[in-house]
């Protein structure tokens, strides 16, 4: 029986999760430099041991409102396409970006282990966000875990126009 592990985090009261294989690290450093004229979902840039991470405001991206930075705010730093490409998991790199990207969340939850077939298909809405961003939902003991479709979350707004 296939098992998947999820990194979970809260946006408001809702619990979301991403496949742990996609995550590079969780960072509590909130020294984010704002970038004017950047799209709203870009919270800013952060220095991660000499590399620049583009921090996306997950709330803006999911259309549930920008996240205020609080004591428990964290940045979930994702692996890059190159890093995933080197691993042995086929097809995972579709769920990543070329550059180092991080997601701004309110509070980090536990690592949750879920059996593959307990993941139900996405409803039209959950937790106030569109089904587009949801890969599936899992009924945990205490609440609903919304597994995010990272590919959708990371999708940039189409081809660049000057």
């Amino acid at each position: 029986m296939a098992n998947r592990q999820f990194i979970t985090f809260y946006l408001g009261d809702d619990l979301f999760g991403l496949d742990i294989l996609l995550v590079r690290e969780i960072n509590r450093n909130m020294d984010i430099t704002k970038v004017d004229r950047a799209p709203d979902c870009v919270r800013g840039l952060m220095n991660l041991r000499g590399q620049i991470v583009t921090v996306l405001d997950l709330g803006v991206r999911l259309n549930i409102g920008a996240r205020p930075i609080g004591r428990e705010s964290s940045c979930v730093v994702l692996k890059t396409k190159a890093e995933l490409g080197r691993s042995s998991h086929a097809g995972l790199d579709a769920h990543s970006a070329e550059d180092l990207t991080g997601l701004l969340v309110d509070r980090i939850g536990d690592v949750v282990s879920v059996e593959e077939d307990h993941i139900e298909p996405p409803p039209a809405h959950a937790g106030g966000i569109k089904g587009l961003f949801i890969e599936g939902v899992v009924k945990l003991q205490q609440q609903l875990l919304i597994a995010l479709d990272v590919r959708e979350v990371l999708r940039t707004q189409g081809e660049s126009t000057p």
């Binding site: 020294d31 970038v35 950047a38 799209p39 870009v42 000499g50 620049i52 940039t156």
Partner: protein, 996 residues
């Protein structure tokens, strides 16, 4: 697919690509170097390598196509076929298809290679001679032997032998050895690669490789012992693999085929040098050979990029370390030496890492040969491409960005520049057009030139095209120089072709080319001669990775502006004021109007509201244009490591990257080109405005004066301000009457006294009077006398800075260099005083009531300042001089003055504004103000009246000025009747008088 196999496949793809990269120029060269054995061999080996490995991976189509090509090359090698254009074309088509197959290797087996195969086969068939099996220098096997062995459960092996290493050095002879092998099993096939041997010279030294296939009952380890060769040289194969022809690369063994190195700086890839070259191209193309393969190693580009980053960070860290440890180092013995050491090693490391990224530009130049060849055929023109400087090395990133723009330029040359042969003949040019591509390092930059000897650019045509397309206005283009007309090409939407050939596209190119080059911090210039050709010059910085920048602050944040764009930095405030012209903020800089952009406004930052007038303006150059970026705080200049922008931010035109500062914070790198675009600066409009201002003449800020230049004797040149000249008369020398010592001339119903310069001034006397002389009749003097001169040179506008100390004497105001000649400026007043002391002494006697009066003079033009100063000295005033309105205002705060003598047109605060301020001030509003102007005009007078000016004077009219000053300071205020309106075009019909 198992992991290892996919790695091998990747390796195969990469290697094959390298082979194909070399293959194309080699094939192109083959046409002209048919008998070059080494060339033929190299082509053969390339195809052969691809064929061999493809068999292992089951890439059938690749195998088939390369096999056919190999066959063809093999015939060529044996002189059974001679390569001609048809064959080379077929091989090129084959190579192109191979590339397509390699690029999509997983689907290559489904792709169609019929066309290319048939073409090649057609060349193979119909040729007499050797049967297919023996002509192939690879292996080919009798299938029945395989079948037989398979049934018997025999093992199949592919064995590599080296004739020296494995046979000779072990004291064996080949005959014996092979006899031995035949005793072990069944030879299926074999061959020996003799391509390594070039000729007699190296024959004995070379270790030849022999490959054979054998079926045997012996298991592998027994075969190893029996053959007495290393295990890696024996590979066991399945019957299917044996059936696929080709040498196999055993998994554990390093491929022995020549590995083309990552960077091959010494190998010229150009096949086509013009016939004029003394050395045949072939001689220069030494094969890369086995020896070089061992000197290089393949490295992933990602790894090099990382190394580059790290080295960059290390440099910055080292810089910081040196800075912070300055003070400590003194107190710690030996530390200084340690720091030195680290510093040197770091610099060395960085330099070497940078070099790994350097690639010869030949890497991208090579493909142009092919492009030109194809285009020549397509367009029916004869074009020769000469490449020079392919070994010039560029940073990889720069090279990548150059490829597209260069391609576009080359295509343009071929398409629009070079004429069809008939046209060329008519023009007396050689039938073959030449395009020359040169790369070189010049002064810390890289320079690439594309030159053609084609029809050149027609400025008139460019202008009309631009107007036609609505990209420029007719009246603007009418005024353009040829150079400016050439730059019209860079306007978006331009294309000079009559019809759009699909070869070079729809005119979308040149503006994009320029933008891309400028984004790299480079520049592009065009020059052309109609009928002779065109030259395009690209300049680029050597590397993009670490750049010097200027750090500016905005609130808490910092931004970096690359130094390459910064021309100068101007502190705003005082003289440098922000003004509004046609609704845009501008700064006047040396007579030109500089459009301004405020950084905080541009970014839409919350920190707006700061006083822009007190910050700094970075004068940025973007292509031909300049603009100023207003920033509040100016911090250090620093070298930074450029980190690329993520895809989310790439669309922000104002940034070209990001960097991590010394304190770990992220700073954005500003993009001058992007900012100019975003701010939508109207350069053209302001250019016109600047020009208009310059032409206004009397309102001019620069020191342009209208001068009359003349000569008295020989070469000595004189000048007086045209304002002082009423008329110039041409007179017959014999009409001049002498009365006593004086000379007189009948002039308008009265007599005009004439004076000669040399009588009163320390200047040369002319030898003899010519038949005609000229008399300058001055204005602005009480008792005018005519000044006799022999030659009136010209009336010119010139900027002058008057030197009052060099030449001195009666009648000499000073000297200056005008139009390249040292010119004496005549002081009419002192001259006349010397000539007619009685009349002028009167004036002197009436000592002005000015002694002890304190006057403030505000005049920004040095020339007039000098003159006015002299006048004031003569008036015996106590006076101060201010260089502009603001200075004058400040001076007025500090001291008490009796009168202000002010120029009108001054930067910052002009004369009227100053007067208004004065009138508005409690303490100053009764101050008499006399306004000065070079020429009086009614509108000024009106304006002045409204501002509160007491009197209007002409700058050079000493007497009137004195009178006015006396009048005012003597106690009577009020405006006198307006000065006689002088007219700039009053008299000078110099066509009549210009002489000599």
């Amino acid at each position: 697919m198992p992991q290892m196999e996919s790695e091998l496949l990747l390796s195969f793809v990469q290697e094959s690509r390298e082979h194909l990269d070399q293959l194309e120029p080699d094939l192109l060269s083959l046409e002209s170097n048919k008998s070059d054995a080494e060339l033929v061999n190299r082509i053969f080996r390339a195809v052969h390598s691809i064929k061999g490995a493809s068999g292992f991976f089951g890439l059938r189509k690749i195998l088939q196509l390369s096999h056919t090509m190999e066959n063809l090359m093999s015939r060529v090698r044996e002189n059974l076929l001679v390569p001609d254009k048809i064959m080379v074309d077929a091989l090129l088509a084959g190579a192109d298809k191979l590339r397509a197959l390699i690029d999509d290797v997983h689907r290559s087996n489904e792709m169609n290679i019929e066309a290319e195969s048939n073409r090649l086969q057609a060349l193979l068939t119909g040729k007499a001679g050797v049967s297919a099996t023996s002509s192939a220098k690879g292996l080919s096997i009798d299938p029945s032997l395989i079948e037989h062995a398979r049934k018997k459960g025999h093992f199949f092996y592919k064995v590599h032998l080296f004739t020296h290493k494995d046979i000779k050095d072990k004291g064996k002879t080949p005959l014996d050895y092979f006899k031995k092998i035949e005793s072990l099993g069944q030879f299926l096939d074999s061959y020996t690669d003799i391509t390594e041997i070039d000729g007699m010279a190296d024959a004995l030294a070379k270790d030849l490789m022999c490959v054979f296939l054998i079926s045997t009952v012996l298991e592998k380890d027994l075969m190893v012992i029996a053959l007495d060769i290393p295990e890696e040289q024996i590979a066991q194969l399945t019957p299917e693999q044996i059936a696929n022809v080709g040498p196999l690369v055993p998994p554990a063994e390093k491929p022995r085929a020549a590995v083309l190195p990552v960077a091959a700086p010494e190998q010229p890839t150009t096949p086509e040098f013009a016939g004029a070259e003394p050395e045949p191209a072939a001689a220069l193309q030494k094969s890369t050979g086995r020896s070089r393969a061992n000197d290089t190693i393949r490295v992933s580009v990602a790894l090099l990029d990382d190394l580059m980053n790290i080295a960059g960070e290390m440099v910055l860290g080292r810089n910081q370390l040196l800075r912070t440890s300055e003070s400590i180092a003194r107190n710690v013995p030996g530390m200084h030496g340690l720091l030195q050491n680290i510093s040197l090693v770091t610099s060395d490391l960085q330099e070497k890492v940078m070099r790994t990224r350097l690639q010869p530009v030949g890497a991208i130049l090579g493909k142009f040969t092919r492009i030109i060849r194809d285009m020549s055929h397509q367009l029916g023109k004869k074009i020769d491409l000469k490449l020079l400087g392919e070994e010039v090395e560029f940073d990889k990133s720069v090279l990548e960005m150059l490829s597209d723009p260069l391609t576009h330029l080359i295509r343009n040359c071929a398409d629009h520049g070079i004429e069809p042969p008939a046209e060329r003949e008519k023009a007396g040019k050689p039938l073959t057009g030449t395009i020359r591509l040169t790369a070189r390092h010049v002064g810390g930059q890289v320079q690439i030139e594309v030159t053609d000897d084609g029809r050149g650019l027609n400025p008139a045509q460019l202008k009309s095209k631009a107007v036609e397309k609505g990209l420029a206005k007719a009246q603007d283009t009418a005024q353009m120089t040829d150079r400016q007309a050439f730059n019209l090409i860079f306007l978006p939407g331009f294309s000079t072709a009559e019809k759009i050939t699909d070869v070079s596209g729809r005119g979308v190119g040149m503006d994009v080319v320029r933008t891309n080059i400028e984004k790299l911090g480079g520049s592009i210039e065009l020059d052309s001669q109609l009928g002779r050709g065109t030259r395009i010059c690209l300049r680029l910085p050597l590397t993009l990775a670490i750049i010097p920048t200027m750090i500016v602050g905005l609130g808490e944040r910092r931004f970096a502006m690359p130094q390459v764009n910064i021309e100068e930095i101007v502190r705003l405030g005082g003289k440098n004021r922000i003004e509004a012209v046609r609704g845009a903020s501008v700064l006047r800089l040396r007579g030109k109007l500089l459009p301004l952009v405020a950084l905080d406004e541009l970014l839409g930052s919350q920190e707006t509201g700061a006083d822009h007038g007190r910050g700094f303006a970075l004068v940025l150059k973007v292509g031909e244009n300049r603009f100023g970026l207003i920033v509040q705080t100016l911090l250090d200049s620093e070298e930074i490591v450029v980190k690329p922008l993520s895809s989310y931010i790439k669309n922000c035109r104002c940034y070209s990257g990001a960097t991590i500062m010394g304190d770990g914070k992220v700073a954005m790198i500003l993009d001058a080109v992007g900012i100019a675009g975003l701010a939508d600066l109207q350069f053209a409009e302001l250019e016109k405005e600047s020009a208009a201002l310059a032409l206004k003449g009397q309102a001019d800020l620069s020191e342009t004066q209208s001068l009359l230049v003349f000569r008295n004797a020989g070469d000595e040149t004189f000048a007086i301000n045209l304002v002082m000249v009423a008329r110039i008369e041409k007179v017959r020398t014999r009409d001049i009457e002498r009365i006593g010592q004086k000379e007189m001339l009948k002039y308008r119903d009265s007599s005009l006294r004439l004076i000669r310069l040399h009588d009163y001034m320390p200047v040369s006397r002319p030898d003899a009077d010519p038949e005609f002389l000229y008399v300058i009749v001055p204005r602005l003097v009480k008792h005018p006398m005519g000044i006799v001169v022999t030659q009136v040179v010209d009336a010119i506008q010139s900027t002058i800075s008057l030197d009052e100390t060099n030449l001195m004497g009666v009648g000499i105001l000073g000297s200056a260099v005008v139009a390249g000649k040292l010119t004496i400026f005549v002081d009419i007043y002192s001259l006349f005083e010397a000539a007619d002391p009685e009349n002028y002494r009167e004036e002197k006697a009436a000592q002005p009531n000015l002694a002890g009066k304190r006057i403030l003079l505000a005049e920004d033009t040095a020339f007039f300042r000098a003159i006015m100063t002299q006048y004031l000295k003569e008036f015996n005033c106590v006076f101060d001089v201010a260089a502009d309105g603001l200075e004058a205002w400040e001076a007025l705060q500090r001291h008490r003055y009796d009168l202000l003598l002010t120029d009108i047109e001054m930067p910052g605060l002009n004369g009227f504004e100053l007067t208004q301020k004065i009138r508005a001030s409690e303490t100053l509003r009764h101050l008499p103000v006399v306004a000065l102007t070079a020429l009086a005009a009614d509108r000024y007078v009106q304006q002045g009246r409204e501002a509160g000016v007491d009197s209007y004077e002409i700058k050079l009219d000493k007497e009137r000025l004195k009178a006015t000053l006396e009048r005012i300071l003597g106690g009577v205020r009020g405006l006198p009747p307006p000065a006689s309106t002088a007219n700039a075009n009053h008299l000078v019909n110099l066509e009549e008088v210009r002489g000599g």
